[in-house]
Symmetry: C2
Amino acid sequence: MLNYSTSEENYIKAIFHLQKQDGTVTTNELAHELKTRAASVTDMMKKLKIKKLLHYQPYQGFRLSNEGNKVALGVIRRHRLWEYFLAEKLKFTWDEVHEVAEDLEHITNKKLIDKLDEFLGFPRVDPHGDPIPDANGKIDSSKKTCLTDLPLHTVATVSNVSDQSSQILELLQHKKISIGTKLEIKKKFDFDNSMELRVARHPAFTISRELAENIFVKYGK
Amino acid sequence: MLNYSTSEENYIKAIFHLQKQDGTVTTNELAHELKTRAASVTDMMKKLKIKKLLHYQPYQGFRLSNEGNKVALGVIRRHRLWEYFLAEKLKFTWDEVHEVAEDLEHITNKKLIDKLDEFLGFPRVDPHGDPIPDANGKIDSSKKTCLTDLPLHTVATVSNVSDQSSQILELLQHKKISIGTKLEIKKKFDFDNSMELRVARHPAFTISRELAENIFVKYGK
DNA sequence: GAGATATTTTAGATTTGTCTAAAAATATTT
DNA sequence: AAATATTTTTAGACAAATCTAAAATATCTC
């Protein structure tokens, strides 16, 4: 695996995340995600195509090659391990870890990362509940269901939270919801799509549609 | 404190280290230290002068301003804390930590570094025995004596080792010398400047001039 | 399906940090 | 102190990553 610049890694990572939803990614989507201009994206896409990290025909959008995917998973592994380190060892709160990890993730020393992984006890998910790829780039992609899609009266476990702002953290802490919390939906209100939740041995409470859309669960447990 | 580029930080740090010996630093010295060309050094010196990080008149060499010194101490603090982390927590050997810390030192998030410091228990020296500046840039500059200057029959404690290669580490491990080892010189041989050392409760042994020149001690203890 | 609108690419400029080669300043030697 | 050698600076070029403005292409709408 060759070495890529910070900028190249950021483009690759952003494409990886955007591909999840769509199949191919467009110039404007990527420019928006990276807070840059469409012309800059085109420039970089030409470079990454030459390096065989993605498939790209002018005006047709792009998607990562196998090699590009591997690079993305490497960046994501480093990012999430550092997030775990920051939260678990340095006692950063949940919403503070992302920004620092954005810098740490670009230090590509295999031994550093593998030893960090070992030091942390090979964690499987980061503080937001997102899975951490292992040293071979393998990632636990077991399906997550958005809380808005969870059927009534079905116990599920909170597995991750997609928004990473301090505002959502404050709200979740207040509602006593965190990664691993087991809950079920008691009632859904069609008017505003709010819902009433129940956590074992606690009184039921209500959350908004906006919040529910950012909470993901796995069935059972 | 403003933010400086990786390259700027590396120049500042190198000047800081070179100033120790000399008073001012020359263009060629710095070019050699940083494995770059004299012309590149001149370019950077002009930039750093404008930013008031150093004093510089063409052809007259340069030295750091107060602000430049603060920047250097910040970089050194980060470098040495990460070295400590790598050795102590991730079980890197002594000669492996420097290279990785060269990258980590440029991540300038104050909270990250202060929390790392706390997590490590506020260590006072890095794995080579060099002092770690505190959060205010204060550094323990108590004098060290080179082993070649230690008088005969005087007990002293190894405080640091200036060479950081794996070769010297191998040799020191074999001789059972590490930071904190208490020793005394039993005999000096003028012929080759080798010397016979004694560590408490061990038989005396000989070390070469080359090795002695890289070992520094503090008196007593 | 033709014109209007939106998206994407190209062309050319800018910034940062580097380089080589030549010129200028300083140091050394005889 | 003049000639020579060394060091340092300037001048001009280049690569990476970005930008604006204009041109090319694609998509939408009627």
